[in-house]
Assembly symmetry: C2
Homo-oligomer: 258 residues x 2
C-alpha cells in the first residue's frame, strides 16, 4: 500500500443510504454509518471518492439566487447566454479568468485553477432551482479533512478524492475527474520503467486519481440514484501526504495542446 | 443489460497470461484461453477493454523504422524535435492535420479523428526500439470484430472497447480513453432525468466508454506487467449496434473549449 503495486482485481462499490447533506454535516461519519448499514467496513488502502456537490453543501458553498446582486457585466452576458443574471454573476465571481464566451457557453478557469464550463456553478441536486452550489474553496483541504476524520473514526488509512464531472476539449461527453486528492500520489510516474522488450518508457505519467474518479462515476450517478460516494478497493496506490488535486492542474504556459 | 441500469458494485479484472501478440493473432481466442487458465469465464454484459497496442500488432499496424523513408519535411521537423526522422515521418503520415508543433512536441489530429501527441505513434511494447505501432485504421471495426469473435467462441454478449492512454489539455498526466467501442452506447445521455429535488438535469452526457477505459487502466499497465486486457463486470450499459468510438470525437467546429 505504500507504493504502486500490481492490482489485478478491483472492486468499485457505490455507497447507499447517504442522506441529503446539509451545511455542517460530517461526511466521514455519514459514510461510516451508511457502510455499517450495508454490512460493509472501510479497509486500509481503500480509495473513497466523494462527489463535489455534497462536499460543497456540507461546507456551506451553496448560494440562494435571490441573495445574489448581478453586476452590469453579468446582466449583459446573461442576456447573450439566455441564462439567469444571478447564475452568471456567480460564474464570474468564481472565475479567475473567462477563457471562452460564445454559443451560449462560458468556459472559465476557476479561482482554484480548474478549467471547466460555467466555473462548475451547478443548480443540480442543490434545491428546486433557486440555489446553486459552488466548488469547495480548496478541494485538497476538503479531501484531507474527510480522510483525517475517517482515520479518527475508524483507524483506517484511506485515500480520499473529491470529484466532479467536467467536459473536455476534443472529446464529447463529460467524465469524472479528481478535484481534491488526499493520502495518495495523484499521478503514477512510470517514466524510466521498462516495457515488454526492455525498452525504457519515455512518456508515461498516468493521472490515476482522475481514472479512479472516472471508475467511481460508473456507480455514482449524481441524480435520482443519490449515490454520492463510492469506494474503490484493491488499487495499490502510493501513499503521499502532499495535496494531490492541485498537482493534476496543467499550468497554462505548459499546455502543449493549446 | 439492454439499458442503463443501477450498478452498485463493479469488478475490474486484469487478464493474466495473454502472450506477446503477433500479426494475425486472434485476440478473442487468446483472451478466452487466458481466462480459462485463470478459472474465469466471460459473462453476458461484461465489458472487455483491450489495449490498442495488441490490436495494432494483431492487425499488422507495426512498421520497422528501417523501412521508412523520411520526407524532407519530416527530416526538418525531426531536427527541431530531436527525434528520429523515421518516427516523425510516421507521425506525419498518420496525421490528418498538425495542430501544434513546439517545445519538442507534436500534437496532431489523426486520420481517425483523434487529437493526441505524435499521432499516437508508439515505440513502446513493440520491439527493442526499431519499430513503431500505429493506431488501428478503424478502432470501431477492430472492436466489432473482437466482439463478434467472442460471441462465436463463447456465445456471450459483451461490449468491447479498444483503449489507449492520451494526454489532454488543462490537466496533467495521461488517462485511458476509448478509441473503438462496439456493443454499447458510448455516452449515457442523462439530460431530462430528474435530480434529487425533481429538477431536470440540463447538461449531463457522461462519456461512460472513456470512464470504463480509465477504470480498466488501473489494472492494465501496458509495461512490464503485460496486462493488455481487462474485464469490467457488473456495469449495466445500454446495448447498441452502432460504432461507438467515433461518436466520442468532438467535431472541431463544435469545440467550446478552443
Amino acid at each position: 500500500m505504500v507504493s504502486w503495486g500490481k492490482s489485478l482485481r478491483l472492486e468499485v462499490i457505490g455507497v447507499q443510504g447517504i442522506p441529503l447533506i446539509k451545511r455542517g454535516d460530517n461526511i466521514a461519519r455519514l459514510l461510516v454509518e451508511a457502510l455499517k448499514r450495508m454490512g460493509e467496513n472501510l479497509r486500509d488502502g481503500d480509495v473513497v471518492v466523494v462527489s463535489q456537490v455534497i462536499v460543497s453543501k456540507a461546507e456551506g458553498r451553496v448560494v440562494k439566487l435571490k441573495d445574489v446582486k448581478p453586476s452590469l457585466r453579468a446582466r449583459v452576458m446573461a442576456e447573450r447566454l439566455g441564462r439567469e443574471a444571478e447564475v452568471v454573476e456567480l460564474i464570474l465571481r468564481e472565475a479567475e479568468e473567462v477563457l471562452r464566451f460564445r454559443d451560449g457557453h462560458l468556459i472559465t478557469r476557476t479561482r482554484q485553477g480548474y478549467v471547466c464550463a460555467n466555473s462548475a456553478v451547478d443548480l443540480s441536486n442543490v434545491s428546486g432551482g433557486d440555489a446553486a452550489s459552488l466548488l469547495p474553496l480548496d478541494p485538497d483541504l476538503s479531501a484531507e479533512k474527510i480522510r483525517k476524520e475517517i482515520r479518527k473514526l475508524t483507524g483506517r488509512k484511506v485515500a480520499v478524492i473529491i470529484s466532479d464531472t467536467f467536459g473536455r476539449p476534443f472529446r464529447l461527453g463529460q467524465v469524472n475527474v479528481a478535484l481534491g486528492v488526499s493520502g495518495m500520489e495523484p499521478i503514477h510516474d512510470r517514466r524510466g520503467e521498462k516495457d515488454l522488450y526492455g525498452r525504457k518508457l519515455q512518456v508515461k505519467e498516468i493521472a490515476v486519481a482522475d481514472e479512479l474518479a472516472s471508475a467511481a462515476e460508473l456507480v455514482m450517478g449524481e441524480a435520482d440514484e443519490g449515490i454520492p460516494i463510492a469506494i474503490i478497493r484493491g488499487y495499490k496506490y502510493k501513499r503521499s501526504r502532499r495535496p494531490g488535486g492541485r498537482r493534476l492542474i496543467r499550468p497554462g504556459e505548459k499546455d502543449l495542446f493549446l
